[in-house]
């Protein structure tokens, strides 16, 4: 996946959306996908959606789920078995977070990695107003998201 690729899709009002991936952890291939709306009249970019991509899986497509994921990361071992996205595992007396997903490989996140991910996630929102995101979030369906991924040659190697 090329990090410098911008993705476009038109939503119902005919607004052009672009996706910009932000890498949060390159070893584990965790990315945050910003979905921007480009307003040409005002010459401004607004965030419309936030997605979390791990490897070949898109874990969350709604902003509330995305925030949930990162809060669980922040909790680290203070979380419990009610965690939705991450399990707390122990290996040789060190605690790890294991990603709950149906993927091929197991993804373990160490404490330092979790902190770094959280820091970069916070930085990713600097300069952008989240008002538009909170009030007028772009809600993906399976079809629109697939179309978007295809349009940007996201699915080709």
């Amino acid at each position: 996946m090329a990090l410098d690729q911008m993705f476009f899709i038109d939503d119902e009002d005919g607004v052009e959306l672009t996706i910009v991936p932000v890498d949060l952890n390159l070893d584990k291939e965790i990315y945050l996908l910003h979905v921007f709306e480009n307003n040409k009249d005002l010459n401004k970019k607004f965030i419309r959606a936030e997605l979390v991509l791990v490897g070949m899986h898109i874990l969350t497509t709604r902003f509330s789920d995305t925030i949930h994921f990162f809060e669980e990361l922040k909790l680290f071992d203070y979380g419990n078995n009610q965690n939705k996205y991450l399990d707390i595992t122990e290996y040789k007396a060190t605690k790890n977070l294991k990603l709950k997903y149906h993927g091929d490989n197991d993804v373990f996140i160490a404490k330092s990695e979790a902190l770094a991910i959280k820091k970069k996630y916070d930085l990713a929102f600097h300069g952008y107003s989240t008002v538009r995101l909170l009030e007028n979030e772009y809600i993906f369906t399976a079809q629109t998201l697939t179309k978007l991924l295809h349009q940007q040659n996201f699915l080709t190697k």
């Binding site: 070949m56 899986h57 898109i58 079809q143 080709t156």
Partner: protein
């Protein structure tokens, strides 16, 4: 005495003149005759030429029509595969049974169903999306080719090679290519085209064994059939890729129960 001489001289002169006149008259008559004959010849020549000319341009109305045969109505049954039908059947005049019906059945199968071939070189992305009831559904996104496009491309690319075989073999190869693509295709929900369906398609065909053997040769990339596999890869490079998500509601598999009617039409 002088009187006699003068009168005889005059007589002789008179006769001479008379004979001269006759001679001239004869000459004139001869010339007139020649002219008349020439004119007659000219007239006859003209008549002959005219006859010949008319003879050439004479159109006879015969009671014949253009050749008409009992054929399937490709223009109404097929829409996207009409070009393939014309390339394989019309151009080569392959309207012999049972090949004609079997190939037509396969064409209709491709036409009416949205078969897809999943691009093996592409990534598959799994996504968790909340549906309209706020429940999280997992679905996968693929890049697919349309089997219709692929089958048309393969046959177009490899037509030259196919025609180098004798007719019976060439027809079996054309069928085998269709079967090969069907085996590689999926029909929604990433399930393969059922084996039962493929077997049913072929079971009533006369040379089903030959066709199956050719399909195996194609899959093994045997030297003889290598051109088919090369055409397949070329077709994949050329064809348009479409996005497909397996949460789409699948359509019914349309199996042609019986073939459409044949109509008498001009070929």
């Amino acid at each position: 005495m002088n009187y006699i001489i003068i009168s005889s001289l005059i007589a002789i002169f008179g006769f001479g003149l008379y004979f001269y006149k006759i001679k001239v008259k004869k000459q004139l008559e001869k010339e007139a005759e020649l002219h008349r004959q020439a004119r007659i010849r000219a007239q006859e020549e003209e008549k002959r030429l005219r006859l010949e000319y008319e003879h050439q341009n004479k159109l006879y109305s015969l009671n014949t029509h253009r050749v008409r045969l009992t054929l399937f109505d490709a223009r109404s049954d097929l829409y996207k595969l009409v070009y393939l039908y014309e390339l394989v059947i019309v151009k080569n005049y392959w309207i012999n049974e049972p090949f004609y019906s079997k190939f037509y059945e396969l064409l209709i199968m491709f036409e009416k169903n949205n078969f897809m071939i999943i691009d093996q070189n592409a990534k598959v992305i799994t996504m968790n999306i909340r549906d309209s009831n706020n429940k999280v559904q997992t679905s996968r996104a693929f890049e697919v080719y349309s089997s219709r496009d692929i089958v048309e491309s393969i046959i177009t690319i490899s037509m030259q090679n196919i025609l180098q075989f004798k007719q019976q073999d060439a027809q079996n190869i054309a069928l085998a290519i269709c079967i090969f693509i069907l085996e590689k295709s999926v029909h929604y929900l990433s399930t393969e085209v059922p084996r039962v369906v493929i077997n049913n398609l072929l079971c009533d065909y006369k040379s089903v064994n030959n066709v199956t053997i050719i399909v195996e040769l194609i899959k093994e990339k045997n030297d003889l059939m290598k051109f088919v596999y090369d055409a397949f890869e070329q077709a994949q490079n050329r064809a348009t890729r479409y996005p497909y998500n397996d949460s789409e509601v699948p359509r019914q598999l349309h199996l042609p129960q019986k073939l459409p009617q044949k109509f008498l039409q001009e070929f």
